[in-house]
């Protein structure tokens, strides 16, 4: 658990340095482990707050930070199928591109309706 959060933290640190060295503004997208968001999962909870704090800190310099939460990849969901890599890729593309230039600190749930109830 600690290793996952530590990896997220230091990859963010490195990524932000790279963005600062390039255009100066950019976007960071975390992809959370595919486990239910509603469970009291320490990694998920840690990552959620890490991303929100980073969004607040980095927002003023034009660096956005958002998180995509994939659904189960081996379980049929309410939408009749498991989560596919392309579902996650499309959400990451939206969060990384200028199409979401006013979005930061957001959570994109891509879970086939798993956490609704």
């Amino acid at each position: 658990m600690g290793a996952t959060l530590k990896a997220a933290f230091f990859s963010l640190q490195e990524g932000v340095e790279a963005i600062r060295g390039a255009s100066g503004h950019g976007a960071v997208v975390f992809v959370a482990p595919s486990s239910p968001l509603r469970s009291f999962d320490a990694i998920q909870s840690g990552l959620r707050l890490l991303a929100r704090a980073a969004a607040l800190e980095l927002g003023p310099e034009g660096i956005r930070v958002n998180t995509v939460f994939p659904g189960p990849t081996a379980e049929v969901t309410r939408l009749g199928r498991p989560c596919e890599a392309s579902d996650v890729a499309k959400a990451v593309l939206f969060a990384a591109s200028d199409r979401s230039s006013f979005m930061t600190g957001a959570e994109l749930i891509v879970d086939g309706g798993r956490m609704v109830a």
């Binding site: 939408l79 499309k90 939206f94 006013f102």
Partner: protein, 255 residues
């Protein structure tokens, strides 16, 4: 690149101004045939004309979203003039800032009718129309950051937007059980520079600057930003997303 909504019929309520107007135009650029609805015929006809001038297809239908009869008319005209319905964007909404103690029952009923009853009737009409289409569909409810957090002086508004957040969850569960399926998601905009805001607070550029200064991204939200998020939620880009809350607020809600 193929267009994301080629020949799909989408109804956008409150398309006469602000977020709805920009959304109608953006969806049309992606190939959607758009039924633009609202109360102002002059504004509605002009957005339909703008879409047509860009080579898109759109109609305007005069619409009080709290009226069952009006919804019947909107669906009938969309189906007969544009084709089988794929999606609904429940965007029409009212907003006012007033202390709780000074808000009258009539004011509460008025904002509830547009923001909650209007969207409820829209989901209901959308479910029926999408069933007739024989293909899966998508519904987007435009809630608010204030459908997730409180704001002093906006108790009535927050109540309606919170109701819309909950309505979306239940509708998503029912929509997933239907054949064809209907995805239902909510968008939660932060402060977006539209008449909804300027009508309450005035349109002094200093105010826009103040909102921007108070937002982590140091910018004011624009209808174009919301149109892109609605495009993501209504199209197959989000084919695996239902019952979700998408917050696009410049980071205000992260605080």
């Amino acid at each position: 690149m193929t267009r994301r909504l080629a020949d799909r019929v989408v109804i956008v309520t409150g398309a006469t101004k602000g977020i709805g107007r920009e959304t109608a135009k953006r969806l049309a650029q992606e190939g959607a045939r758009v039924a633009c609805t609202g109360r102002s015929a002059a504004d509605g006809e002009s957005v339909a004309a703008e879409i047509a001038a860009e080579g898109g297809r759109a109609i305007f239908v005069r619409h009080d979203v709290a009226s069952v009869a009006d919804w019947r008319d909107v669906i009938a005209r969309a189906e007969s003039e544009l084709g089988a319905v794929y999606g609904v964007v429940n965007n029409a909404g009212g907003f006012f800032v007033k202390p709780l103690g000074e808000t009258s029952e009539a004011e509460f009923d008025g904002i509830f009718d547009v923001n909650v009853l209007g969207a409820f009737l829209g989901v209901k009409a959308g479910f029926e129309a999408i069933a007739r289409s024989g293909a899966d569909g998508s519904i987007v409810n435009v809630s608010s950051l204030m459908g997730l957090v409180g704001y002093p002086g906006a108790t009535a508004y927050c109540a309606t937007k919170g109701a819309l957040t909950g309505l979306t969850k239940s509708a998503a569960l029912e929509g997933a059980q239907r054949t064809p399926r209907v995805r239902v998601n909510s968008l939660h905009p932060g402060v977006i520079w539209t008449q909804m805001i300027t009508g309450q607070f005035g349109d002094d550029p200093a105010l826009s600057d103040a909102f921007a200064a108070d937002t982590p991204l140091r910018m004011i939200g624009l209808p174009e930003h919301m149109a892109e998020a609605i495009l993501y939620l209504i199209s197959d880009e989000s084919a695996f997303v239902t019952g979700a809350e998408l917050t696009v607020d410049g980071g205000r809600g992260a605080d």
